[in-house]
Symmetry: D2
Subunit: 146 residues, 4 copies
């Protein structure tokens, strides 16, 4: 874990918990909060926003990313995600793909159980590559066809 | 158009233009900017954020909505959308559906041509209902089956 | 309504009802069936297929379209949609956008109540243009930027 | 690899190549073909179907799945995916998530280079678990909150 991540770790996890507050989850009742650390130390929060069509639902992680990117951020150093569940929950595949668009494969992703402060193993730490191995990315669209 | 929208109209259109700046559009090269006016007069901006998977792309309008909702806003009074095209461009169906989740059917939606300031008819004004008639919404999921 | 649609109307509505049988809806319990009539008189069925991520859900209408297009069909003349609800339910915005990619604006879309056979007004008939006015489409991506 | 997969391997790869024929890719020009083997030995093909909204795009793998599920299939034993690119290309995260909904984690996924028949290493073989480790799935939505 890089220095910038280590020094912001607690702040980032706390931000993910706060982010959960504004989840809009009338259908699943499954709140998720995400917090994204930008290269310059800013933390951007996201919550999951559901939709009656179900398919129009946007997860907490993607909310954080589109928020950050639409405000001009392009480089990120860590992501934290938390839910109301007592164990770590990992991002869905769609979110992993959106993370892939903007982040290095070794970027740390912290998956915090709801009560992570009270447990020794409350935060699972992984990298983007561990969550999305053999990933499809922007450079694949450039490959020669034929 | 309500008073709050009228008094914020120029500011809202200008914010949509500014929002376009941070569009991430390596695939379509089609920048879109959106600006959402909340009930308490705050303006929240969004840009389109594309993804190598294409399906993972999130439009400017949806970016503005998930940003706003994840920050605690739940009531909106107007939306402005603009692009780099010389005529008005309307939101895609997916965005109309996300707007539908949170907004009254008579909410004004302003569709601004790229050079709307120089033209008399540079801003097309419509309502959500005009863009998504006979809409499917949250209450439909509650209807009796059988 | 064109002759081909009129002569296939009952068959198309019946196919939409049958399509509903295979809906995969563990989350919403809201079954939808769709049936798409191709230019050469073939009927292609679709049901909604949900996903634990919610955002990965694909509606009945889109299922019918990707099925048809991936089998080589490119021209369509009518679509029928039905649910388990006693009144007509219209497609979500995302589906309207996918229909827009392949169909003429005047294509008839039949929205059938669950018990449409027993009611006089059991089938609401509209066109794509009525469901998605001022639509965004493939030609918009070609417009000059500037 | 189970017997049923081994005996259908060539047929499955060939079906993925054929499926590519009907890809609708006016925007990316990146054709993908997928072929899904059901428990009872049926092969169901899918191609990617793009949309002017980009976000409305549905990949080849998801096309194959919604097609299969909407026709009543619920159990699958293998998936093959191919493109026009000379090396193996893996499914996007969104597709991995849809596969996750229906398949065992050890299900083989065959990723075939465009000219896989002419190369010794033309087909990369992996499992769903290798593509989507620590996955989020239907059972997670059932977990106790709190
Ligand atoms: Zn997600
Ligand atoms: Zn849109
Ligand atoms: Zn739909
Ligand atoms: Zn995909």
């Amino acid at each position: 874990m890089t220095d910038i991540v280590a020094s912001n770790r607690d702040r980032l996890l706390q931000a993910a918990v706060e982010a959960k507050t504004f989840a809009y989850v009338p259908y699943s009742k499954f709140r998720v909060g995400a917090a994204l650390l930008t290269e310059d130390g800013e933390i951007i929060k996201g919550a999951n926003i559901e939709n009656a069509s179900y398919g129009g639902t946007i997860c907490a992680e993607r909310t954080a990313f589109v928020k950050a990117v639409s405000e001009g951020h392009r480089k990120f150093v860590a992501l934290a995600v938390t839910t109301d569940v007592a164990s770590s929950i990992a991002p869905c595949g769609m979110c992993r793909q959106v993370i892939r668009e903007f982040c290095p494969l070794d970027m740390p992703i912290l998956l915090a159980a709801s009560s992570y402060l009270e447990k020794e193993d409350g935060v699972r730490e992984c990298t983007l590559e561990e969550l999305l191995p053999f990933s499809f990315g922007p450079e694949d669209l450039e490959r020669d066809r034929g």
